[in-house]
C-alpha cells in the first residue's frame, strides 16, 4: 500500500516528507518502547508510536523504517521534525489511538513484524 493510502486510512496529518507519499509500505510495527523497536524491528516497516522525542526518529532511521505514524494526536517536537527531514523519513500524525490505528492498517493488508519466537 502506498503511504498516501495510509494517510487517508488514518485520517493523518503529514508533518514531514510530503514528497514521499508514493513509498510502498507492507509491514508495520507499533511500540512506545524504542528498546523493543531496536530488538524486533525489520527494515522497511512503518513505525507506529506515541513516543515523540527525537529518539523515536533516530530509532526509525537506525532500523531503516520507511515512515513514522504518531498516534493519539501526538506530534514530534521541532528537533524530531528537523531530524526526520534531514533523514528523509516521512512523519504522519493521527488522532486515532494505537490499537485502532494498528487495526485499520492490519485490516487493509499491512502485516506485522515477525514474533520473537519466529526468529532463528
Amino acid at each position: 500500500m502506498k503511504l498516501r493510502e495510509i494517510v487517508n486510512l488514518l485520517d493523518a496529518e503529514i508533518m514531514s516528507g510530503a514528497e514521499n507519499m508514493d513509498e510502498e509500505i507492507k509491514l508495520a510495527g507499533a511500540s512506545d518502547l524504542m528498546s523493543d523497536v531496536l530488538a524486533f524491528g525489520q527494515p522497511g516497516l512503518i513505525l507506529l508510536t506515541g513516543l515523540t522525542n527525537p529518539q523515536s526518529v533516530r530509532t526509525a532511521d537506525i532500523i531503516e523504517a520507511k515512515a513514522i505514524v504518531y498516534v493519539r494526536g501526538k506530534k514530534p517536537d521541532a528537533d524530531g521534525i528537523a531530524l526526520a527531514q534531514k533523514k528523509k523519513i516521512p512523519i504522519l500524525s493521527t488522532q486515532f489511538m494505537m490499537f485502532k490505528a494498528c487495526g485499520i492498517l492490519y485490516r487493509n493488508g499491512i502485516t506485522g513484524v515477525s514474533d520473537p519466537k519466529d526468529k532463528s
Binding site: 512506545d32 518502547l33 524504542m34 528498546s35 523493543d36 523497536v37 531496536l38 530488538a39 527494515p43 513516543l51 522525542n53 527525537p54 529518539q55 523515536s56 533516530r58 530509532t59 532511521d61 537506525i62 532500523i63 531503516e64 528537533d79 533523514k87
Partner: protein, 148 residues
C-alpha cells in the same frame, strides 16, 4: 585519519546529553553507506552502536566510541566513565534493567540493549569495573567466512 590498516574515527560521548544521543551511530552509518558496505551489515552495526551509545548517554558521565573499519571487519569499541555493571551475566539477560523512570520515559531501559548488541554482532566482549566504567568491543565481519 586513514592509517594503512584501515579507517579509524573516534567520537566523544557526553553522559546525559539526550539531544545528541544517537548522532554518533548515525555518522557511523553514513560512513559505511559511503564506503558501500552491504546494507544488512550496516543495519546490524547501526543498531548495535546505537544501543551502546544510548547506554553511555543514559548511565555514564562520559565516554568514547572508536570506530575501526579495515578490509576484514568493522570494530566498535566503547569505553565509559560510569558506575560500571555489578553483574554482567544478569545485565546480559533480556529484560534485566537498572534504568530509571526518566530513561524509560525516553523509550529505553527495557533490558534489551546489551543482549541486542550481542545478537546483532559477530563477536561481543564486555568488561566492567564497579565505580570505574564499562568497555565494549563489538566486531562485525564483512564476509561471513572470516567469522571466527
Amino acid at each position: 585519519m586513514e592509517p594503512e590498516n584501515g579507517f579509524i574515527q573516534e567520537f566523544k560521548v557526553k553522559g546525559g546529553d539526550f539531544s545528541k544521543a544517537g548522532s554518533i551511530s548515525t555518522e557511523i552509518k553514513e560512513i559505511l553507506q559511503e564506503v558501500g558496505i552491504d546494507s544488512s551489515i550496516i543495519r546490524r552495526v547501526a543498531i548495535a552502536s546505537y544501543e551502546a551509545e544510548m547506554n553511555m548517554v543514559m548511565y555514564s558521565r562520559k565516554g568514547e566510541v572508536s570506530f575501526i573499519l579495515d578490509s576484514v571487519k568493522i570494530l566498535i569499541k566503547t569505553s565509559d566513565e560510569g558506575p560500571g555493571i555489578e553483574d554482567i551475566d544478569k545485565a546480559m539477560q533480556e529484560g534485566f534493567s537498572t534504568a530509571t523512570d526518566e530513561m524509560r520515559e525516553m523509550g529505553f531501559g527495557a533490558g534489551m540493549g546489551l543482549p541486542n548488541i550481542k545478537k546483532h554482532s559477530d563477536e561481543f566482549k564486555i568488561t566492567s569495573e564497579i565505580g570505574k566504567g564499562t568497555n565494549l568491543s563489538i566486531t562485525f565481519y564483512l564476509e561471513q567466512q572470516n567469522k571466527q
